[in-house]
């Protein structure tokens, strides 16, 4: 096979002869203040080689010392993924030469990872599926390489070297790209709730490699796998897997064999390309890290972490439904973003109807977020402001329509709701004399519609309300108009 593979436009997932087998490896950068083995700041996007020291540069004579918070974040992740936590933890050297690794080895964990044998319940294809977690282990991140064609060299920034990572390895339990996608979104959500990482794929805080193979349906042995790398979003993971499954299926149908190799996803071209690297076949020669003594944890320490875990998305959804009266539909949307769910609960606590709040948050507010392609944390809107707005719509101060206009303005500027209402003249007219006068006119102009209302046609009254609203440029209180219309018509 050549270096590149063109995608064909047919769907192999409908090919009943083959089954797709996917296992995922997720690398998560922890959000501790400092690196895993030294006191350099753990930050992204600062000037190259300014957060480095003798330890993370691997200078002779320097010694690593484990950041306690890294170990405990690892325990948190393990517990959240229903893993058992090893009470004996040690680190190991993974030896290989590559310029992103100044020591010539990566400190990782081999046979005693922090966590093992867990699972994550994932809603996929309309039902819950448990995806097995093989293990989660701690390790240090490598540096960043920039391949510069202009000077025909590779440039190395070691700021990232020593950034604490948790690598979460799943069992090969996923059977489609969609399942892999659902696993990743569920995993990311749980990790966000734990607040151990910003989980930002664009910054590389969360990275995913996929091991993909196919086999004849009914076969229990695994086929030869390829490892997919370089996917920068969950949707890219999905596209890369779909592409790779199609490629492998074509090869097998053509009687060719799958070569075990690492493939890089090319987002622009939508294809996978075999990784070409000067690095020889990997033979990591793991051995116990002599620069770090082992760690032992007591059951009491692990229990303490377990008790301190935040409520996870799955549990939160159930509480919203059972304790706060949120519908399953609304709740599912609300828990998808921890900030969004926190905002919801803060707002609810301030005193507002739960269904109204759900409608406003999952409707107009979500629309604002989508339109602006931003998250709630980026906005100047506070829970108090949203509650004030909803209650102003509810008590008739402003119309529903004006409420949405005000929301857009608040979201954009963070200005006071009162000021926006005054400035835009959005106060709803509840002046009964004025409304009465306009309703009378409308009734006189539409005798047939009035007849329809009398004969019990509900929609007909709506038409009259609409006419009156139009006359008053949408500023009238439709409830009051409706009351007037009903009263006038039954009195005539």
């Amino acid at each position: 096979m050549g270096g590149m593979y063109k995608e064909q436009n047919f769907n192999f997932s409908e090919n009943m002869d083959f089954e797709t087998v996917i296992g995922l490896e997720v690398h998560l950068q922890l959000n501790t203040a400092t690196k895993i083995f030294c006191g350099c700041r753990n930050v992204f996007g600062v000037e190259a080689n300014t957060c480095v020291c003798p330890v993370c540069l691997g200078l002779p004579g320097s010694l690593p010392v484990l950041n306690r918070d890294v170990l405990f974040s690892g325990i948190k992740v393990g517990l959240a993924l229903n893993c058992s936590i090893n009470t004996f933890v040690k680190f190991d050297r993974k030896n290989y030469y590559y310029p992103d690794l100044p020591k010539g080895y990566q400190i990782s964990q081999y046979d005693f990872p922090i966590a093992k044998a867990g699972f994550l319940p994932v809603m996929t294809g309309g039902q819950e599926k448990r995806i097995g977690i093989t293990r989660a282990h701690l390790e240090e991140d490598a540096g960043k390489l920039i391949h510069d064609d202009a000077i025909n060299a590779t440039l190395v920034d070691y700021n990232r070297t020593g950034t604490p990572l948790v690598e979460i390895v799943s069992e090969p339990d996923m059977r489609s790209a969609d399942e892999a996608y659902d696993y990743l979104t569920t995993l990311k959500l749980a990790l966000q709730y734990l607040n151990v990482s910003d989980c930002d794929m664009e910054k590389g805080s969360l990275r995913c490699d996929a091991n993909v193979s196919i086999r004849s349906r009914g076969e229990t042995k695994l086929g030869t796998k390829t490892e997919l790398k370089n996917m920068n979003s969950f949707s890219a993971v999905k596209r890369a897997i779909d592409f790779e499954v199609a490629r492998q299926t074509r090869l097998v149908i053509a009687g060719e064999s799958i070569v075990q190799q690492t493939l890089l996803w090319n987002e622009e071209k939508g294809i996978t390309i075999p990784m070409r690297s000067k690095e020889q076949a990997h033979d990591y020669r793991y051995f116990p890290e002599p620069d770090l003594v082992p760690f032992t944890l007591t059951e009491a320490e692990i229990d303490k972490v377990r008790c301190g875990l935040p409520e996870l998305p799955y549990a939160r959804l159930h509480r919203l439904i059972e304790k706060l009266g949120v519908s399953e539909y609304d709740g599912t949307i609300i828990v998808q973003d921890k900030t969004f769910a926190d905002f919801f609960e803060s707002a609810l606590a301030l005193g507002v109807d739960v269904k109204k709040l759900c409608n406003w948050m999952n409707g107009p507010l979500m629309k604002e977020l989508n339109d602006r392609k931003c998250r709630l944390g980026d906005l100047k809107l506070t829970p108090g402001m949203l509650v004030e707005l909803i209650n102003k719509v509810e008590d008739g101060t402003v119309s529903n329509l004006a409420g949405k206009e005000i929301l857009a303005e608040v979201v954009a500027t963070g200005r006071k709701i009162e000021d926006i209402i005054k400035e835009k003249g959005l106060t709803q007219v509840s002046d009964e004399a004025l409304i009465g006068k306009i309703v009378d006119e409308i009734i006189l102009k539409n005798p047939q519609v009035v007849e329809q209302v009398r004969s019990g046609k509900a929609n007909a009254a709506g038409f009259l309300v609409g006419q009156a609203m139009k006359q008053m440029q949408g500023k009238a209180n439709p409830k009051i108009i409706n009351e007037f219309i009903q009263r006038r018509i039954t009195n005539v």
Binding site: Y98, N152, A153, D157, P290
Partner: protein, 94 residues
């Protein structure tokens, strides 16, 4: 069995250049070590935990507190070559 090829392979993984004479010496050395380990393997060690560290110490931590880093100039001062604040190395991906 340690062969000349095994020694060459290990040397290449470790980026070491060794000549023929050195290679022969390493074959003998490594073979002796393996024979000694084979002898140890005959011992009954059921119930003995593997040693993972020679020191009788455990749980050595540091707090998550920032300490000063080197300046970029200091960090690059021992680089063979540098460019625009980066270490410059031969291109690793074609």
């Amino acid at each position: 069995m340690i062969t000349k090829e095994t020694v060459n392979y290990i040397a290449s993984l470790s980026r070491l250049h060794i000549d023929e004479a050195e290679n022969a010496g390493f074959v003998r050395n490594l073979e002796d070590i393996l024979q000694y380990v084979a002898k140890l393997n005959k011992l009954d060690v059921a119930g003995v935990l593997p040693t993972s560290h020679v020191l009788k110490m455990e749980n050595v931590f540091r707090d998550d507190k920032v300490s000063p880093s080197l300046t970029q100039q200091e960090a690059l001062s021992f680089a063979i070559e540098s460019h625009a604040g980066h270490y410059k190395v031969p291109k690793v991906i074609e």
